[in-house]
């Protein structure tokens, strides 16, 4: 079986995250780039399946700027067998549509039985990519799973929704996305770190994939303006002088919070 895991590089959640006010994009300089934790969980799912099922091929796919090589090497050190890195200046600030098109083209190019992704990335929080990919690849999707069973020809798992838990399954080939509920990633070992350098890493551009970034026929979202988050104003302090309850209620009503 061939599994492709989508790996995204994101600004460290624990660091400062900033928007660049000129481009409207995340300021990549402002914080250290790390593998999105949900991508690590996706990779762990693929690797633990591969551990138990000889002959499983795990490839990671990332769409990121040139500097993402360290992130890809880490995924390879953890145990992925190969990597595809799509990198192109024209992808800077790509919207969900262009991102999905590009990823789908890369996935189709290398071939797959199963695509595993996180349900939503930590930085963009779009949450649409898995379903869009399935649509573009013309395969079923099992998204937002909090437990997963992969078998020879199918995947199944549970998807918590507001009113309960759905049991879903799909025949392969399919796209699968997971939630934070899945186990965290393993740490790479020294053998993996050494081997990572020798594992195949293919770098692809948009023209390799036959995609035009500014295709006038494709629907693209355009950002019109971007503004800095207004600074947080000091809160209202209510000191209890016997009437705190009333004043609290007044505050809530005044601010239409009640």
């Amino acid at each position: 079986m061939k599994i492709i895991v989508l790996v995204k590089e994101v600004p460290d959640t624990y660091g400062d995250r900033k928007l660049n006010l000129e481009t409207g994009l995340a300021d990549r300089e402002a914080s250290e780039a790390v593998i999105d934790e949900i991508s690590e969980r996706s990779l762990e799912l693929a690797l633990s399946f591969a551990d138990a099922n000889a002959g499983t091929e795990v490839a990671v796919l990332t769409l990121a700027s040139e500097g993402a090589t360290a992130t890809i090497r880490k995924a390879l050190a953890m145990g992925a067998g190969s990597a595809i890195h799509v990198s192109d200046e024209a992808l800077r600030g790509a919207d969900l549509g262009l991102t999905a098109e590009t990823l789908a083209a890369a996935i189709r190019r290398v071939g797959f039985d199963l695509v595993i992704t996180g349900n939503v990335s930590t930085d963009g929080s779009g949450g649409m990519i898995p379903a869009m990919l399935a649509e573009l690849l013309d395969v079923p999707h099992a998204t937002g799973l909090s437990s997963v069973t992969i078998s020879d020809g199918a995947v199944s798992g549970s998807r918590p929704v507001e009113s309960g838990v759905q049991q879903v399954s799909a025949n392969l080939p399919a796209v699968l996305s997971i939630t934070e509920a899945l186990p965290g990633a393993r740490f790479p070992n020294f053998k993996g770190i050494m081997a990572a350098k020798k594992r195949p890493l293919e770098v692809l551009s948009l023209s390799d994939l036959g995609i035009t970034a500014d295709n006038p026929e494709a629907a693209r979202s355009i950002m019109l303006t971007v503004a800095e988050k207004p600074p947080r104003a000091a809160g209202v302090k209510i000191i209890d002088e016997g009437d705190a309850g009333d004043r609290l209620a007044d505050f809530l009503v005044e601010n239409r919070l009640a």
Partner: protein, 391 residues
């Protein structure tokens, strides 16, 4: 010019172990320290990462790295938890390394894959109640006798302070024992010391009650009793009579590993102090603004840095096949002293909180003392250095 920049592989390994130490080890350190409990969960994850196999070739289940890779891992672990770091250090440099260096093919096949996997631990039984720095004073004896038609070593004696000798996963302790005597030309008696592999399930082998130590509380240390312990003749490790010399050479390497652990501890004290110097306010400003504090931290950083260069140098010599005994002794000594001095300064910077056990710096304060004693006291390192100077 020597270049102390780490290559990409070493840097990646160091970063990975650092992440592991921060995310997996640190959160449970205070608990294991307080409970004096062996961190089985942490050790098993270290095993999964292949840390116990770092310096061994892949054919023996190792990671195909080298001794410097091990040292880097020890530094990162020592930063947050010395008990965990010494468990790895003793497991690899003292437990498994003698088998790798001196074992025959069969012994290596039997023990190395197991020890390198980290699923089992081995101990190094040199020190005795009356033989520490003067380890040649070994009283433990082993005599070769034929039992039921098979030649067996029969071992009797006591060992003191043996790390990793009594955990649930301990499978082996290699002990030094007197296997004979010879007469010197002047008529005095020379002891012949050999090393013998003793599987811990051998009848007569007992790991006695664990010590109540000042620090390294989550590390496993026991006195050992060997009473009529019988193991096959083939368990002799290395040449008969070469045991003492072999163990001393293991200790020469081990000093680089201990030095790395100590540098980690010294750096951990810097890192903790630096954070605290920004957070803690007194008299209207962060205490780091006071030169008394900033100079202390600057000096701590200088100690950690110089001690690190010392162990890098010793390790580089060792890997290049050059003599490194003196450099390892220097690294061990300055490393241990850097850890102890930094721990004392760090606890001072933490004020009253530095005296509360759950704080990392107070743990470093209790843990670091042994770094000036174990695997050769500071005085023993000075003896080695002085001897090299022809004194």
């Amino acid at each position: 010019m020597p270049d102390f920049e780490l290559s990409e592989d070493y840097q990646n390994l160091s970063d990975t172990v650092r992440e592991f130490a921060d995310q997996v080890v640190a959160p449970v350190s205070a608990k294991h320290d307080e409970e004096h409990s062996f961190p089985y969960g942490v050790v098993s994850q270290m095993a999964d990462m292949g840390l116990f196999g770092l310096p061994f070739p892949e054919e023996f289940g190792g990671m195909g790295g080298d001794y410097f890779a091990l040292a880097l891992a020890l530094e990162q672990l020592g930063r947050v938890d010395q008990s965990v770091a010494i468990t790895l250090e003793a497991g690899v440099s003292l437990g498994a390394m003698p088998v790798y260096r001196f074992g025959n093919e069969e012994q290596k096949r039997e023990w190395l894959p197991l020890l390198a996997s980290g699923k089992a631990l081995g101990g190094f039984g040199l020190t005795e109640p009356e033989a520490g720095s003067d380890a040649g004073g070994t009283k433990t004896r082993a005599r070769l006798e034929t039992v039921d038609g098979e030649k067996m070593w029969i071992i009797d004696g006591n060992k003191e302070f043996i790390t990793n000798s009594g955990t649930d996963i301990t499978k082996l302790v290699t002990v030094t024992a007197v296997t004979g005597t010879s007469e010197r030309p002047d008529g005095s008696v020379k002891k012949e010391i050999s090393t013998i592999l003793v599987p811990t399930n051998t009848p007569g082998f007992t790991a006695e009650k664990a010590y109540n130590k000042v620090g390294w509380n989550a590390s496993d240390t026991h006195p050992l009793t060997l009473k009529d312990v019988r193991v096959p003749e083939a368990n002799l490790l290395g040449q008969q009579g070469r045991g003492f010399a072999n163990f001393l050479s293991i200790l020469d390497e081990g000093r680089i590993a201990i030095a790395a652990l100590a540098v980690g501890a010294a750096q951990g004290c810097v890192d903790e102090s630096l954070k605290y110097a920004h957070e803690r306010f007194a008299f209207g400003q962060a205490i780091g603004k006071y030169q008394a504090i900033s100079f202390k931290i600057a000096r701590m950083q200088a100690r950690a840095h110089t001690a690190r260069l010392a162990y890098y140098d010793a390790a580089a010599r060792m890997l290049a096949g050059k003599p490194f005994k003196t450099q390892a002794a220097i690294a061990k000594m300055v490393g241990g002293e850097a850890a102890m001095d930094n721990a004392r300064d760090a606890t001072q910077i933490f004020g009253g909180y530095g005296f509360i056990n759950e704080f990392t710096v107070s743990r470093h304060y209790r843990d670091s003392k042994i770094l000036e004693v174990g695997e050769g006291t500071t005085e023993v390192q000075l003896m080695v250095i002085a001897r090299d100077l022809g004194l």
